[in-house]
């Protein structure tokens, strides 16, 4: 029990991302409304972005801007700085997520114009009839 609690607390960032991811996945798979699916997809992507961001983070560390004076008379201690790379990667991933979202919404608009609804079962019903 103790261990489990330890695991839960020490790695809370992972638990958060996993929970978010599952919520997102649930939305994508189980929801009937297309926009809700899109929201689920966005949550899913965001969860992974959060996962990357949290993995570069260190407690008590600062942004990695190395000031020259400090560098000149001492050793740079990596522990003092957060890892910037995952954050930079996530800039790209955010751009990707936004564009995916854009495409998805645009498609949703087209679907709505065509069928007059965003409920998947109703759309399929219409397709079956035609």
């Amino acid at each position: 029990m103790e261990d489990a609690l330890q695991l839960l607390i020490a790695k809370y960032n992972y638990w958060i991302y996993i929970t978010l991811m599952m919520i997102g996945l649930y939305g994508v798979i189980a929801k009937n409304n297309l926009v809700k699916k899109i929201v689920g997809m966005s949550i899913f992507q965001t969860a992974i972005i959060l996962f990357f961001v949290s993995m570069g983070m260190k407690k008590g560390a600062t942004i990695p801007i190395v000031v020259h004076e400090e560098a000149s008379h001492g050793v740079i201690r990596a522990v003092d700085y957060i890892n910037p790379l995952p954050h930079v990667l996530m800039l790209t991933a955010i751009v990707v997520a936004v564009s995916t979202l854009g495409v998805a919404l645009a498609l949703a608009v087209r679907v709505y114009k065509k069928y007059g609804t965003l409920e998947e079962d109703e759309i399929l019903e219409q397709i079956r009839k035609s």
Binding site: M41, F52, M55, T100, L107, K114
Partner: protein, 496 residues
């Protein structure tokens, strides 16, 4: 110039994508020739690169001059040299071929369409050439997002099908990204070669196991490996005919390439096949994929839709052959990757030609197609023979290696599935040919010569098709050469 070839492969199509897009507003007629030049340069660069690799070994290119683990590197060996050449050549052929139908179907949106197509190719080439796991993700998404947009250009259900593809595609890509995240936590690097080096010491780690599984699931989703295939048939069926000629042959195959690359050159064969003990299970999954997609294909009444299930079947071939884990099976998978690009290309070019002239390609609508469009149907026959696996078309030779691999691994389930699917594909295609050959109007066909009822697609569409069809045979005849010079060196020595 030649040392910058790897960069050209991505930079040229990227720039021409924007150029073509801009020209769409300014001077629409220029889109086609400019793009053609762009793709011509790319194809030249890819083939040049392959030749260079064959002559003097793998090429590494540091983007922006940054050294390996920090910067992004492009690495070209025979494996992706081959894929690059196949992708760029088929994109070039498709560009020429698709022009008439695009002009007819989307006269007012040419710039955007051409731009998207070019971006799609950029993404695929980038995925293939890159040696960096995260860079791969970004390029994967470039290719996917453009594919979503292209598919949505179709009529009727296209938007809905595309939206479904967006969901599944995004989930797949995110899984891949998650896997990369785990790898990064454990190793602190994203460079594939570096990863491979560091991972040898981490074979026991639970996190690496999770990373491996998540990555594979993500890739299987993207390549539509059987239980995860739901998005593909609709998306490819409803895409405009001219564009499915681009997306259908390339997307899944490049994803198979990524799987091969990650398994062989990041995790390494000993980890992928022995450590986890999943290999037989995956092959059984492939058996299921092959059998189920054959059966589902039998249920279709529309040529284009049927072909999408054939794609699923071929994905099953490649995944199964690869996961047999022995040299013959992998040779078969890699060779089939190459062959299948052109087989599927040929099939979809033929379908595009049919759709250019006919109302649709459900079976009854194909009636009399042999007399109306003999060349197109000839191309389709070549494809069919190749998919069934009749020598000397290329499909036979890759199937041979796959079968041999199954026999050596004593995986008789896969062996039987391959034979079964060959027989089923014969039934599939000859059913189509029956519809097209036995027409009710043949009585009034004139005696002796045929000719008056000819309604062939324009030459610009027929010639590329026939070229690809001839290519299927050429690939078959040269398969010995291809295997010994390209495929063999691509498989690590550790695989026996």
């Amino acid at each position: 110039m030649t040392e910058h070839l790897p960069a050209l492969i991505v930079v040229v199509p990227l720039l021409s994508a924007f150029l073509v897009f801009a020209l769409g507003w300014v001077k629409r007629e220029l889109c086609f020739p400019v793009g053609l030049c762009g793709l011509g340069v790319v194809a030249w660069a890819c083939v040049g690169l392959l030749v260079q690799v064959l002559e003097s070994g793998p090429v590494t290119y540091k983007l922006g001059g940054w050294e390996a683990p920090w910067g992004i590197v492009y690495v070209v060996d025979t494996l992706n040299g081959m894929v690059l050449a196949a992708v760029s050549l088929s994109a070039f052929i498709q560009w020429v071929w698709s022009a008439p139908s695009l002009l007819r179907q989307f006269p007012d949106r040419l710039g955007a369409l051409y731009g998207l197509q070019m971006l799609f190719v950029t993404g695929l080439l980038g995925i293939t050439v890159t040696g960096d796991a995260f860079n791969l993700y970004v390029l994967l998404e470039i290719a996917s997002i453009t594919a979503y947009a292209l598919i949505a250009m179709g009529e009727e259900r296209a938007a809905l099908s595309s939206l479904n593809y967006v969901f599944m595609g995004t989930v797949g890509a995110c899984f891949y990204l998650l896997g990369v995240g785990y790898l990064y936590i454990m190793t602190g690097t994203l460079n594939m070669a570096d990863l491979a080096r560091l991972l040898t010491g981490l074979h026991g780690s639970r996190a690496i196991q999770v990373a491996f599984l998540i990555t594979m699931v993500g890739l299987w989703l993207k390549m539509a490996f059987f239980p995860l295939h739901g998005w593909l048939p609709n998306a490819y069926t409803h895409a405009p005919a001219a564009l499915s000629g681009l997306i259908a042959p390339l997307m899944t195959k490049v994803m198979v390439y990524v799987m091969i690359r990650i398994d062989l050159h990041v995790f390494g064969p000993s980890y992928s096949f022995e450590k986890l003990g999943l290999d037989r299970a995956v092959v059984w999954l492939a058996v299921l994929a092959v059998v189920m997609s054959s059966v589902l294909a039998l249920a279709q009444r529309d040529l284009k839709r049927m072909l999408t299930y054939v794609i699923l079947m071929e994905v099953g071939y490649m995944v199964g052959g690869f996961w047999l884990g022995n040299r013959s099976g992998m040779t078969g998978a890699v060779l089939h990757l190459l062959n299948d690009v052109f087989m599927t290309l040929c099939a979809f070019l033929a379908v595009g030609n049919l759709l250019y002239r006919l109302q649709g390609c459900s079976f009854p609508e194909l009636r009399g197609a042999f007399s109306k469009m003999p060349f197109t149907m000839g191309g389709l026959v070549a494809t069919a023979l190749s998919i069934v696996g009749v020598p000397p078309t290329c499909g036979f030779f890759s199937k041979w290696y796959l079968l041999l691999g199954a026999l050596e691994a004593e995986h008789y389930g896969f062996l039987a599935a391959l034979i079964f699917s060959s027989l089923v594909s014969m039934v599939l295609f000859f059913r189509v040919f029956e519809w097209a050959f036995f027409s009710s109007q043949h009585e009034n066909a004139e005696k002796g010569h045929t000719g008056s009822s000819l309604q062939e697609a324009p030459a610009q569409m027929v010639v590329p098709l026939l070229l690809v069809a001839a290519g299927l045979i050429a690939l078959g005849l040269f398969s010995g050469e291809i295997v010994s010079r390209i495929v063999e060196p691509a498989i690590p020595m550790a695989v026996s």
